[in-house]
Symmetry: C2
Subunit: 415 residues, 2 copies
């Protein structure tokens, strides 16, 4: 008997039939003799409906009240799923964020989990009940409802799995697992059987949409075995686990892209201490995340500073940057037709020349690279947005991602 945590997203519980389907899957796991804790999201469309209602009443709804209304989405789903499980003859009990207690800070709409009191959950599971827990929500020290922001339900699932020391945390969603790249762009994309936290974390940060990086980070921190699989079939999914030595044999595990990036450049910035801080401190304070940053080497005491931001933050960032550029007496230039392309793999640590192959393959395909950034296990480049699809296909083939992974002693072909 194991303790399994399963998480079902909004699409998986999007209507009555799908909730019944989830109930069947949960009951099957319980019937195999496991203790099961299930985390669910709001039914798909519900969060949008509630947000829309709120905005009709207040164009800038107070975030405390937004969290009160958004909390109802998951509250409806947990009750419905618990009812559906009981209808199938199994005992079940729903838990809201404040009932579990998932204690968070008071940062409404983007709260962080501080701790989880598992007593009620453990009691429920040991009574043989399926515990159905509302994802995405928590409660602060003053009893105010909070929500965890993007990827919140995944984060809840991993946090609950960590707190309960679950054997496995299954993220059940509308795809079969983590793929070598986006199958919509590259038909040869293959499902990955086993991948490390580090690689998944890079993928999530670099544009892959399957898991939010917060939940992967949490899983890595607490060594929770994660599985990503489909809610709609029984295919084995992708297992996300601590790095294993054999994983380094695969040089490039996956290719990601992010078309939601925009580039901002300060030109003619005086090259003196404190300049970067003058630019990035106010941007950070405004809550704009800055991604790749590149500073050219100085010529005549002046330098260029280039970075990317999310397209959705572009306007806000630009407004700030215009003021900063004026102060610094620099000129500003921006480009929203760019995209970020990345290759990721643990094997890069031990295999040389990967970046060279990456540049070479793109060059052969006539794709220009505008910015580059590397880490131990990834290479990222900024290229033109309209060349991304082609670039992904070229690299997928070049790094043999369309082939079976064979763990062997010989060097992979692409290195």
């Amino acid at each position: 008997m194991a303790l399994i945590v399963q998480k079902y997203g909004g699409t998986s519980v999007g209507n009555v039939e799908r909730i019944q389907n989830v109930a069947r899957r949960v009951v099957r796991t319980a019937a195999e003799g496991h203790q099961v804790a299930v985390i669910v999201s709001a039914m798909s469309g519900e969060t949008d409906r509630l947000t829309d209602l709120a905005h009709q009443l207040n164009p800038h709804p107070p975030s405390r009240e937004m969290d009160v209304i958004l909390n109802t989405g998951e509250q409806v789903t947990v009750a419905l799923l618990a009812m559906a499980i009981e209808a199938q003859g199994y005992k079940s009990r729903s838990f809201l964020g404040h009932q579990v207690r998932i204690r968070t800070d008071s940062n409404y709409q983007n709260a962080k989990i501080l701790d989880i009191d598992t007593k009620e959950l453990v009691d429920s599971l040991s009574r043989g009940e399926v515990a159905v827990i509302a994802g995405f929500q928590g409660i602060d020290a003053d009893g105010n409802l909070t929500t965890l922001g993007r990827g919140g339900s995944d984060t809840t699932a991993v946090a609950i799995a960590a707190a309960l020391k679950a054997e496995l945390c299954e993220i059940c969603t509308d795809v079969d697992g983590v793929y070598t790249t986006d199958p919509n762009i590259c038909p040869e994309a293959r499902k990955i059987e086993r991948i490390s936290y580090e690689e998944t974390l890079e993928m999530a940060s670099l544009g892959a949409k399957v898991l939010h990086h917060r939940s992967v980070f949490f899983a890595s921190k607490y060594q929770v075995n994660l599985s990503v699989r489909s809610s709609f079939n029984d295919n084995p999914g992708t297992l996300i686990v601590p790095a294993e030595e054999s994983m380094e044999q695969v040089v490039v595990r996956a290719i990601t892209y992010d078309k939601k990036a925009a580039r901002i450049r300060f030109m003619g910035v005086k090259d003196e201490p404190g300049v970067a801080a003058k630019i990035f401190v106010p941007i950070g304070r405004a809550g704009v995340n800055v991604d790749l940053i590149i500073q050219n080497s100085s010529t005549d005491g002046f330098t260029d500073l280039t970075f990317t931001v999310a397209k959705e933050d572009e306007e806000r960032a630009l407004e700030l940057c215009r003021r900063i550029a004026e102060e610094l007496d620099a000129t500003l230039d921006y480009d929203s037709k760019i995209a970020k392309l990345s290759i990721i793999g643990l094997g890069m640590r031990t295999h040389a020349g990967i970046a060279a192959t990456f540049f070479d393959e793109l060059a052969k395909a006539g794709i220009n690279i505008e910015m580059v950034s590397t880490s131990e296990i990834k290479v990222s480049a900024v290229i033109r947005e309209d060349q991304v699809d082609e670039a992904v296909r070229v690299l997928h083939r070049a790094f043999n991602l369309d082939k079976d992974v064979v763990y062997e002693e010989s060097e992979p072909a692409a290195s």
Copy 2:
């Protein structure tokens, strides 16, 4: 400066425009310098939608989970109203049942309020915020969500008003106040300006739909000044207050009817001690409320026992009664085409002959009386269902309810 509690029902907050309207009324009261606590119901239709969803997943949904899902109805409204009030420039804060804390017993779907902790509310009001409180909901000692059942939001409002020692508790609804009888049946029906708790309580129990008897009982117990008025206009409503001496001058204050009654009769019951208990104890245990009970005087050691139940309980009651009749060797007879008609007035205490006038007027109109029950301040009769409308109109005229109430020393005409 006074502390005013206002309660708005489901119709009053049924859409975005109506919530904005409620926000305007609340803000106006606050702008007059009052502290305002507002209790709201779920948007009309929402409870039905949620109940329907639940029944699609489980024909007999567990009542604990029903309360979890039903709680979301009011949760959405409090957040929306607080946002709407903030949009109009006033500070506001929403409170859920478990945040106020409205502690109840664990009788899901029909919980009773045990106590209310007003600390958070008082703090909020003294910060100048409009406190928006979810009606209908509470929390039990183990942290489970509960709902108060029928008339729950009115009960919340009165309980909050009592706990805060509010000057006035306004029940804002889709009618202008408490009427002398149902205006849909009797166009001469008039709004009552001032009425006692006792009369209102009888009216609520005898079929008037404006207020649930639980909330009137609560108001009477804690001497809360209640007002029933419209959410959609500024007409003064009906004030419900402790009995005043002048009120006794009005012999008949109102006429109510209840078409949702059915009659059950046991015939040939042996007239011996304990027979009534054998009938009514099992019926009571099954949760069926018995209303009028009449036992004929015994002939030859046998008697008849007749009583009424709500039509919705008829089938359940009949099933039980068939078994009981078999045990008692009695015969059973039932009739669902009946209705209960009542006149109510504090003045009956001091004015004789009211029942006689009541019987006389009905007789003149050719309406037969099948059962009668009286109390200090009411006379009720069971008549044929299809004669109710006519009976109401006849009595309304006979007792001068279509005339202005003039408090004077002379005896009213009808006594």
